[in-house]
């Protein structure tokens, strides 16, 4: 039997959720026995593949690129998990939302830049007017709040999903956990 295909994705977040995934430590090796990790910032695949069974998405949707990615991810994945407060609530990336986008970019690339003051037009994707939670764009199958969710929580979520169960997160995690 083929192993389930697991992916992780990184939108607008601090990578803390991925650090928490790494905190699974030796449980990562055990995980590799039950699933193939087909895409992740932690592995080498460059393009999000077809037929992914489970994806953990870290980060809010903040840029054109995030938006494109999240639609591709949704199209190619059976179970989409919003991992962490940025994906679930937009959290810290969303703190810019009360300011107009021009003043946000001006603050970052002019007021706080000493040299070469300009808004980047290459490589750095343009920001959306506001940074928003993943479920405002695509259907999300499971929400795992936490900043970041603990390695134990992530382990619980993955083992439950891989054994075909819906994880009950009561008392396991919360906003800001």
């Amino acid at each position: 039997m083929n192993k389930p295909r697991l992916a992780t994705a990184w939108l607008d977040g601090c990578s803390g959720c991925h650090m928490s995934i790494l905190d699974l430590d030796e449980r990562l090796i055990e995980l590799a026995r039950f699933a193939d990790i087909v895409y992740s910032p932690l592995v080498d695949a460059k393009e999000y593949p077809e037929d992914v069974d489970i994806v953990l998405v870290e980060g809010a949707v903040s840029s054109d690129e995030d938006l494109k990615k999240i639609h591709t991810i949704r199209r190619r994945t059976k179970t989409l998990v919003s991992l962490g407060d940025c994906a679930v609530t937009s959290n810290v990336p969303g703190m810019r939302n009360r300011f107009p986008i021009d003043s946000v970019t001006h603050r970052a690339y002019f007021e706080n830049a000493q040299f070469n003051q300009q808004v980047p037009r290459q490589v750095i994707p343009p920001l959306l007017p506001t940074s928003r939670p993943v479920h405002e764009f695509v259907k999300v199958d499971l929400f795992v709040p936490g900043c970041p969710p603990s390695a134990d929580t992530i382990h619980f979520v993955l083992t439950e999903l891989l054994s075909g169960k819906a994880p009950d997160l009561t008392n396991k995690t919360r906003f800001g956990a």
Binding site: N97, R98, T130, R132, H135, P145, T170
Partner: protein, 245 residues
Amino acid sequence: MAQPIANGQIMAAKTLTINGKHLSAEESATVLEAASEAGIEIPTLCRLEGLSEVGACRLCLVELTGSSKLLPACVTKVAEGMEVKTDTERLRRYRLMILELLFAERNHVCSVCVVNGLCDLQSLAQQLGITHVRFPYLYPKVSVDASHDRFVLDQNRCILCTRCVRVCDEIEGAHTWDVMGRGTNSRVITDLNEPWGSSETCTSCGKCVHVCPTGALFEKGRSVAEMQKRREFLPYLKLMREQRK
């Protein structure tokens, strides 16, 4: 049946059912008190032992047989033959909705909040199993007033429970706090919407800071998850005042 006696006076008792359980309660009791006495827990948020009840948060709404309206248990008195339900599908649905709307209405960023892990709103959301907010966040641009020497008012975290207003009026007797505006434009204010730091009525007692259920009021110098609220003083002060009357 023996009549309950309080302060040497005979109190009338009312009999009612809550979730099918038969109980009796003093006639002056609220549905919330009767339920709590019987070990039936109803979620609350604006309520705080020692302050008056205002029914602001609507989390304690209950169903009453024969009434199409939902009633807040904290301000509804018990009545003879009353049939109360506290945990129906409809009530559970509304409670989730109320909490989610509170999160959507201001900027509650738990991860960077002074009361992360110590917050009534956050822990109630966890208790009721909220894992996300289904309504679009409003991300309002609201103010932070740090003009006071020792305290900060952060409107981003305010849920308009009015605990600060009540403790300042009823316990401290200063009535520095009040609410202005309507709907999503409502704000707690000091004096006539003047900076807290230059308030002439504020006694800087800090009671408002400690009854606040969220990180809307906190002590200066507290960082993320550092603002432990101390509320033990409240029932004691109330008791002392009642005995003085």
